[in-house]
Subunit: 558 residues, 2 copies
Amino acid sequence: MVTHLTEEIPRSVWYGWGDPYRARPLSASALEFLRRTLGLAGVEAIHPPTALADVRLSAPALDDSVLAELRDIVGPGHVSTDAAERILHAGGKSTPDLLRRRSGDALGAPDAVVYPGGSEEVGAVLALCVKRKVAVVPFGGGTSVVGGVEPLRGQFSGTLTLDLRRLDRLLHVDPASRTATFEAGIRGPAIEAALAPHGFTLGHFPQSHQEATLGGYVATRSAGQASTGYGRLDQLVKAAHLETPAGPFDAGSLAPGSAAGPKLLDVVLGSEGTLGVITQATVKVVPAPQAKVYGAWTFPTFEAGAEALRKLRHNGARGDMPHVCRLSDTDETASTFRLGGAKTGALSHYLAVRGQKTPALALFVWEGDAGQARARKRRSARILRQAGGIALGPLPGKSWEHGRFSGPYLRDELLTRGVYVETLETAATWGRLEDTYRSVRGAILSALQAKGAAAYVQTHISHVYSDGASLYFTFLAGLEEDGLAQNARVKAAASNAIVAAGATITHHHAVGLDHAPYLRAEIGDLGVQVLRSIKDTLDPEGIMNPGKLIPSPSSGTP
Amino acid sequence: MVTHLTEEIPRSVWYGWGDPYRARPLSASALEFLRRTLGLAGVEAIHPPTALADVRLSAPALDDSVLAELRDIVGPGHVSTDAAERILHAGGKSTPDLLRRRSGDALGAPDAVVYPGGSEEVGAVLALCVKRKVAVVPFGGGTSVVGGVEPLRGQFSGTLTLDLRRLDRLLHVDPASRTATFEAGIRGPAIEAALAPHGFTLGHFPQSHQEATLGGYVATRSAGQASTGYGRLDQLVKAAHLETPAGPFDAGSLAPGSAAGPKLLDVVLGSEGTLGVITQATVKVVPAPQAKVYGAWTFPTFEAGAEALRKLRHNGARGDMPHVCRLSDTDETASTFRLGGAKTGALSHYLAVRGQKTPALALFVWEGDAGQARARKRRSARILRQAGGIALGPLPGKSWEHGRFSGPYLRDELLTRGVYVETLETAATWGRLEDTYRSVRGAILSALQAKGAAAYVQTHISHVYSDGASLYFTFLAGLEEDGLAQNARVKAAASNAIVAAGATITHHHAVGLDHAPYLRAEIGDLGVQVLRSIKDTLDPEGIMNPGKLIPSPSSGTP
């Protein structure tokens, strides 16, 4: 279904998220919540972003002969050293990224931005960059929140960001085999728009959907809001074409199953631009759903809700699992209800009367044939009720869906009002989920409060597996004078708690720069050596996205 | 469900498949079929295997100091240079393997067989083998049909086969997360027996189930007869522990989903003993089914049957797909019916009257809750009927299941009677399935008939995916004087046809020695270089299973 949810938006603004015209101002109740919860007397808009003209930028380091050769390869209109273009490619969309750029610091911007028109041009640019010792950062939607597109020069003469927006075509659909091949620079809404006439959907809707690209999805091993039903992207990709400094590399196979040795596609998935540039990918597609059926239940505690999700996954009939499946902890539920106004006030009262004074809200969407989706909801309702759930009807789910991509816009206004806000995520087995939740939440809260300020953490589960679930933390506090130090302190505390819990350092945000120091704890010294050996084979000079993903030889967990 | 199907059998006989006491003699109708179809006048038992005492074996090449050190590591009772033990580990179970051993040739046997008791002993053996330049072949059930466990000495001083049968324990079950951790030497039936008290099954039943081990499943990226329902093994494994010459290596994660870079577990899966020895693995498990519901339908042609399977997969309700899903071509169906005697004679007549003179038989098993499984069959029946299917009831499916692991026993008697028989498999997208079927089948038939003899090929689909299906070919002809040359001719013709069709060189038999020359066509030069770089990192001296999986630097497609 192509709806307003999957429509194209203009390219993102340089200092924040997406298209600023889509941002809605914070409501009076949200401001009141911030004042009360965070003890911020004013919450005034006193920290606007620096004017674009005042942003600090280093002089472009690439010499004219390199720029001339680049123009020869991709055409003169597709190489830019303009300040605005460089600033737009200076990094991703993590809170520290935004803090830096809002304060006028784009000193890390690339020396040039190149817009290739196809795989062969990408290959030629890489060959030139090997020869001229230029670092290359592949750039899709630019929505990385882990420093994945930050241009690091390292030992090279300059950095160049390769923006793949011109590689935006659907190349082939095989309806009988239900596969589609795209150029990798195509964005989420355009994928859906291209598949719609064929009756198909990719079913991949991360929060960055409106900006992110298929190549970015592949490079970061993405998961979407409906991945409980449609599968993570690594389950949807069949093959990918890379241009690497060592030459073109086709990973994966059209065969539906194969025992032909290690699956090298799984080396490309999650490679985050460190091995080469993904220029095409073939994905599995499924019929676009004819209907969506919404449901919401509340549970007495987050733990009871998590146990209900586990039972739904384990005891529900095969195929009954909803496509979207989210559970908020009691804090996130409280803030959802609070922002809902009078209607949810009455609801809170009703739930309290029924014994749920601090409820945890679970939202579900079943997709597909209308009759089948309704039957699935009906059968699932029995399990959820037995697990202590109180049914709320379809409205909370519809309301969530309406705002499903708009959350990150709020951050821009919060930062303007002097509120620090960031998110991070992990995943753990059912057996370890509660401990992981408590320890990571506790670590974030302690780190936020370290200087005595009030702080707030809310958490949800958004991906439900047979063997466990994801945990997604959103946290706020007053912005300290050194916001970058504040962020580093909180991020380190959370990451160390995740490592100590034996959970994964990232469920779907990827590794990038920010998680690289923690990767060794997850994959071991030999795992790092294996990654390094693969990189040395495909990118012997090390020009591809330096500093990302692979921890440096000396680094242990900080 | 633990049944007679999943019970332990003794270790395999040296000259053939499994436990010879389980073999049943060829029926009179089978012999008559061979006489008529292959034009073999006698089909007499005139080629029995050589007596064990007469099998040719080279003198063990490992010197006494190496053997003494091995005994120090694993205990004196766990190192063997006995002829019988060496012959049992001389190779796998492909037809050329059996032809060699039956003719008295075990010259390729390892110099010693070592039975380690745990991961640390495996690690210590590898360290010794690096120091003393000894090649190591990991050995699970020994059922490779692609030369995967053939001891090749290469540049080393000797070869040692590491038989993992002592690593046979269930180490841990996490019922809430539905995972189980096993030692890797545990065999298929023992996995099921260990899980049964917990109410779980792994659901993995390759034809080698009664002998093959979990480590072998992982190392070869195995698929089982019920993988359409339970998933391929690569979808069931969460983590694996390897001992490598570079040290212990833990691949995979307990987290249910992760975006922490490339998935290195997928480098271990399918590594076929070339990177190290898998000593433990954690797998996802599911509740053992309470019921099995059987169904069979015939279709006017193989193509019509394949189209029916595709429709079942694509148009059936989510979760309705049967766990077992097999479609025989008209040749395989004819031989199934012919061997069924009078009852199937009447059935053939009935089908002919209804317009199916040369039908293609499809078998299905739905597993799970009895009511749900019956409902799934009922809904599926509508799709199959609309696709031209005639329902036959549960008996053909039950009959198939009764003999599901016994097919390979027939080969021993066929070889004794001078009949050449072998199998091979591939997989292709729905869009290319029919072309792949025709060209590979045609290539096998032409190669078999190259010397003027009669030949027979039958084919089935046994794994049904959203994007395509597997193709499994079984073929027979009179055994030529040089059976090895006959086999090489047919195998090369089939493999070249598979490569030309753009299908995979192996759907579930793995690469081993026999498919290694064709891997380059499938993964490319850079893919081979990536594999080589991973091997150089984990096994810098190259002692692990030399000659397998990774094509030699010079080799192209033969």
